[in-house]
Each structure stands twice: as C-alpha cells, then as structure tokens.
C-alpha cells in the first residue's frame, strides 16, 4: 500500500512532526529547553534524598569503574526509564491530540506515534550527553562506551515505538487504557532496578519449592535496558551479550506486534476518534 514515493515524503513529514513536538513542548515556558534537564535533575534530587538518605539504600560500587555515587547510579537507570514512560504516554495521547488532523488529512498515521517517540529520543540523547560530561568530571571516562550507548538508545527506541503503536491505537478504542497504563507504569517502575541494584533481587523458596524469581524478573525488558545502560556509563563494562541478544529479540518482537495491531485497527481510526 505504501509506495516508495510516499515513504520519502513521509520522512520529511516525520522530521517536521518531530520538530513540532520538540518546539511546541517548551514554548512559552521561561526556562524553555532547560526543563528537559531540570526534570530528571529534580527527580534525581528527590529520589536521592528519599532513598539514599532516608531509606538508606546501599550504593552499589561500579565494577570495574569503582564509582560509588548514588546520584549517578540512579540517573543511569532513570534516564532510560523516563524515556520509556514519556515515550509511551506521549504516543498514547498523540492520536487523540491529533484527531482533527486524522479526520481531515490522509497520511500514514503511524508517523504521529513515531514522531512522538523520536522527540523523546532526542530529549534522551541530550540528557545522556549532559550525564556523560558530568560522569567524566567525576572520573568515569565513558567515551569508549558511547557508541554502545547509541546502539542501546536505538534499540530502546524501536521497543518504545512498538509499545507506543500498540497502546496508542488501543487507547483510541478503549479510553481507559490510559488509566490502566498509569498504574502499570508505577508497578513497572519498581519492577525495574532503577533505585536499587539488581543484586537485591534473589530467587525465593515458597512451600519448599524454589521460585526462579530472578529469571522472571529479568524477563522485563526494561531490566535489560537499564542494566545495559548502567554497565556502559556507571560500571564501564560491556553488557553481557546474552542480555543484549534478548533485548534485540524483545524489541523487534514488540515492534512487530505494535505494527501488526496498528495496521489492523488503523483503517477505522478516523471514525473512532
């Protein structure tokens, strides 16, 4: 259905829509783009205060970097997480926010979702760049690991686009998806080693049976994304190849599922909105 010519004009539209998201986001706010950095910074301060100083969560030392700063440990997990959360909720709202456009103009609708996620990707890259500079000031020479970080961001972008496509179109059909998602995100946040190290998760015994909790826990792809990012930036080591392979499989599968569901439900979109 989508011809090549359509794809090339779609690319320009994608770029323009992404720019629209980015430009529109902080228009009319005094601090403008700095909000993109101030937000994770504020979260970091709050979490550090609560979890490090009140709840006294132990700080995992970077292996082999030797870094032992909770704020950095936290940010390495928080940034990929924020990307996922913002990308997903943003994608979910975008079809409804652009209902008028969908009802009046023909264009490949998935562009709206992709543009929204890409705008979040751009934010993530800026945040990561600042984080990398800060890490280097504190002695973590992350430069050799940056190409791997880029690969991870690309991979996670595919994953988030998949989730976004799926959720955005479901949300048009069932508006309570967004309420469900806000609960899901809370659960998902604590099921991901962002504020605590992965080493705290251990298998358990239940009525004499060994429950492979750690294995189940690691099925969560966000565990992989957060851990891999932390390996690159905090620990300064190459993430385990097995985990990377799992991330590739999960990302591609999620993307395929998202595309399949979106394509199935897309034709009726203009009526359902």
């Amino acid at each position: 259905m989508t011809s090549l010519a359509e794809l090339s004009t779609s690319r320009e539209m994608l770029v323009n829509l992404t720019l629209r998201e980015l430009r529109g986001k902080y228009k009319r706010s005094l601090l403008g783009w700095s909000w993109s950095l101030l937000n994770p910074l504020a979260t970091m301060l709050i979490f550090t205060l609560v979890f490090r100083f009140i709840l006294k969560i132990p700080v995992a030392a970077g292996q082999p970097s030797g870094m032992k700063i909770f704020a950095f440990f936290l940010l390495c997990g928080l940034l990929p997480w924020n990307f996922m959360a913002a990308g997903m909720t943003g994608a979910m709202g975008t079809l409804i926010a652009n209902a008028n456009l969908i009802k009046k103009v023909y264009f490949p609708r998935e562009i709206l979702v992709v543009a929204n996620v890409l705008a979040s990707t751009v934010s993530l890259l800026i945040e990561l760049a600042v984080l990398a500079v800060a890490l280097m000031l504190f002695g973590n020479i992350v430069l050799p690991w940056l190409p791997m970080v880029i690969v991870l961001v690309a991979l996670q972008t595919l994953f988030v686009i998949g989730v976004g496509l799926l959720m955005s179109v479901l949300n048009v059909y069932f508006r309570d998806v967004q309420h469900f998602v806000s609960i899901l995100l809370q659960l998902w946040f604590y099921a991901t080693p962002i504020i605590y190290p992965l080493s705290l998760v251990r298998d358990a015994t239940f009525h004499g049976h060994r429950v492979p909790l750690k294995f189940i826990y690691q099925l969560n792809p966000m565990v992989g994304f957060v851990e891999a990012m932390r390996d690159c930036l905090y620990n300064l080591r190459f993430p385990p190849v097995g985990e990377l392979a799992y991330l590739v499989v999960v990302s591609l599968a999620t993307l395929a599922l998202g595309i399949a569901v979106f394509t199935k439900l897309e034709p009726k979109l203009a009526e359902e909105l």
Binding site: E12, M13, N16, R20, G24, K27, V105, F174, D176, A270
Partner: protein, 439 residues
C-alpha cells in the same frame, strides 16, 4: 460560462470510484470503557447506517466534478473515501497523481509555532518536500496576504488569517487532483476572488477537481460533471447543469405542503414602531393565485397587504430579494418608483408587478418594509418573510449567476461565406448553450 474541454477517450480516469459502500455505526449507547465491553462481551449496541451504497463513477483528468445532494446524502463521506481518510467497507477508490484535500483548512497547524514553521509543517503533512515548499514559500505567503505576520505564532492569528494560510498552503501543493469540501467561501471578498482565480487557473492547467458543495450556483458556474447522491446512492450522473436542474426540480417537489406553509411563515426577524403593519405578503402568479414556485421569465406580482393604526403621511414601501447566501439581488422602494400617496388611513395593499422575472433558478427570500418618507424609520420591517423558489424557465441559462440580463444573441456571418448580408438573429429563448461534456 462554457464548460471545460471534454475528456478524450484515450485518457485514463483520474479518479475511479468503484462500487463503494460505507457504513457507519450509530451507537445507541456509546461507551469506550473496557469494563462495559467485558461485561457485555461487545463494545456497544449500535445500528449500521449506510452512508454510501454501491456508488461508482469516474472522473477524467481536467474535469471539474461536483458531488451534490442534501445533508446526510453521503457527499462528504464519499469525498473522504476518495481522500483515503475513510476506508470503505466494500468497493475501492483510486486516484492517479498527487491528491490534495481541502477538507478543513489549517488542520495540523500548531498554535504555538509561527506561520513560517507551520507552512513547512503543514506542507509536509500534505506531502510536499522541503525544497518544494521553499520554492513556493513566497507565493504561499503572498497568496495568504500574511507577509507581516509570518513570524507570529498562528494562535495570534484571526480566524480569517488562519483559514487563509491553510487554504494557501493546500492550494499551492500543486495537486493533480484537488478535493474540495465547502471551503470556497473563506475570507473576504478579495480573497474569495483570488481563490476563484486559483481554481480557474488549476482547471486551465488540466487539473482535476472534485468538489462538494451546497451552493448550486457555484457548482453551476464551475463544474462540468456532477453526481447527485441521495441517501448514499448515486441518483444521477452527468453534465452538471442537467444534474442540477433535475436535483432542484426534485428537491422542490419534495417540499410538502406543511413545509410550504412553514416557508410562508416568518423566516426572519420583524421589527418596527408599529403605526403601520404589513399583515400579509404574497407572491401571485399570472392568474393572480398565490404561489411559492415561479419560473424564470414569469409575470409575477408581489402583494403587500397593510393596515394602519394611525393615519400615515407619505408612506414608503420597499422590498428586497436575497439569495439564501445573503446576496441582495435587488431592493426597490415605492419612493424611488414615484408611487407615494399623500396619506393613507386604512387598510389596503401594494402590488409590485414584475412583467418578466429575470431571476435564475434557485431559492430566494423576500424582505419587505413599511417606512416613513425618509425610508429610515420603519413602521414594520419583516426580514426574509417569504421564501420562494424559481425554477428553470425562459430565458434558460444553466451556467451560473443569479439573474439573466435577457440579452439577444445575433450571429453575423461575413458576406463571402453566407451570401446576402443578413444577420441571423436568434431570439433569447432559442439560444442553446452547449451543455457540458458527456462521459
């Protein structure tokens, strides 16, 4: 105005609509919540509503094609199917070449962004490359007349500016096929003229235009082919003037007696100081019988029956005839016609007799006024008090406009060719304006 060139048989159609059917769900109880969906095991109860039923036609390159019909007849749905915004349940639509749809102007503008940014954004949504937009940029801004405001966020635009910019971007996409839904009437008169010129230019360059419109006079003046949709079905397809005439005939016959009564009742507002009142306004045909349906060229009398509560000196009566769009066709009064009595002190009536009604087919509203000699102080002013229909008669003119000037046509042939110098004079009634091209 004469219709554009007829399509040559060798051309492939620019737009194909083939057996298109589209249903909408008419929800009895709309719900978009999972809970209810799970409980009922279905999303909601609804009725299937056929918006389009097995519609087929072709539009050839260079044609200006109109979709006409009453509200809810499926015109706009069909246009959206052609634009691929809606997907039909069965059948298919295909368009050859680049399509631009003028369904809503400025859809996709971001309020916080400047006009400049929005031109690029909207242009790319409509399928323009950045290079193309850059090349067209000045033309777009100039056409919209927004040079001074192009770096202002569009949220600060007036609605007219907003629509003008939207139109300007959409029309400058340089489409092969342009789909237009009732957006011709945007902006002020000057902008409308520019739009009309742009449409004429597109047609002259052989672009295909499909237009949905309620304004039959517009359709008549610019379209060569038309499809009449009735409750989702294709009722008639053919040259625009013929289809419009058939449509006007049917729609007017369909107006039942109650509706006619309703049409006689006051349509618009009434005001005035009340010393004199216009009690009844009638349209009389040649035999003097009241009617609401006349033909072009008929002898028609408008009778204003009045009464007074006080003797009135030098009263003036006036009428005005307007199109439904609000354009005033004429507005004569008795003072200018030199028909002012010194004084009236009882009921009576005023007749305005028109020997040949030169209004072209359409629906018109009659407004009447009863005023003092200055014509500024109304005793009774009845806005749009009678709505009447004019049907095709003589002179017959099928290519738009509101009035016929009743000109006489004559063809003068040079001696060498036609022999004796004799002008072949043709009476107005016999003029045969060539109909639009047949498919």
């Amino acid at each position: 105005m004469i219709a554009g060139p007829p399509p040559t048989a060798s051309l492939a159609p620019a737009v194909v609509v083939e057996g298109v059917s589209k249903t909408f769900r008419l929800y009895h109880e709309r719900n978009q919540s999972l809970k209810v969906a799970l409980l009922r095991r279905k999303r909601a109860t609804y009725e299937e509503l056929w918006a389009l039923r097995d519609v087929s036609f072709e539009v050839f390159p260079g044609q200006t094609f109109a979709l006409i019909g009453e509200n809810g007849s499926g015109k706009s749905t069909l246009l959206k199917c052609i634009a691929r915004i809606l997907r039909p349940e069965s059948g298919r639509t295909s368009v050859t070449g680049k399509v631009s749809a003028l369904l809503e102007l400025g859809a996709g503008f971001h309020p916080e962004l400047s006009g400049r940014d929005n031109i690029f954004l909207n242009g790319s949504i409509l399928g323009l490359s950045k290079k193309h937009i850059e090349a067209k940029f000045d033309e777009i801004v100039d056409f919209a007349g927004l040079e001074r405001f192009i770096d202002t966020p569009v949220k600060n635009y007036s609605s007219g500016m907003y629509v003008r910019l939207g139109f300007s971007v959409a029309i400058n996409v340089d489409p092969d096929v342009l789909l237009v839904d009732e957006v011709l009437a945007v902006g002020d008169e000057q902008f409308q003229r520019k739009c009309a010129e742009k449409f004429a230019d597109l047609r002259a360059r052989g672009k295909t235009i499909v237009i949905v419109s309620h304004s039959l006079s517009t359709v008549r003046s610019i379209c060569d082919q038309a499809a009449w949709l009735q409750r989702g079905r294709l009722k008639l397809l053919g040259p625009a003037p013929a289809v419009i005439d058939a449509y006007v005939d049917e729609v007017h016959t369909e107006r039942g007696p109650e509706e006619e009564a309703a049409a006689t009742a006051t349509v618009g507002a009434r005001w005035g100081s009340g010393e004199g009142r216009i009690d009844r306004v009638e349209l009389l045909d040649e035999q003097g019988a009241p009617t609401l349906r006349v033909h072009t060229g008929d002898r028609v009398t408008m009778r204003l029956s009045y009464s007074v509560t006080l003797p009135i000196e030098r009263p003036v009566f006036g009428i005005a005839i307007n199109t439904l769009e609000g354009m005033q066709v004429t507005g004569p009064n008795s003072r200018e016609a030199g028909c002012v009595p010194d004084r009236i002190d009882g009921p009576g009536h005023v007749d305005i007799t028109i020997d040949r009604l030169m209004l072209l087919p359409g629906t018109y509203d009659l407004t009447v006024a009863f005023t003092d000699y200055s014509a500024l102080h109304p005793f009774d002013y009845r806005h749009r008090v009678v709505r009447f229909d004019v049907e095709p008669g003589e002179p017959r003119e099928s290519f738009g406009g509101v009035v016929s000037l009743g000109g006489r046509w004559s063809l003068h042939v040079p001696d060498a060719v036609a022999g004796p110098a004799e002008a072949a004079e043709v009476g107005v009634a016999e003029v045969d304006v060539s109909p639009g091209p047949a498919t």
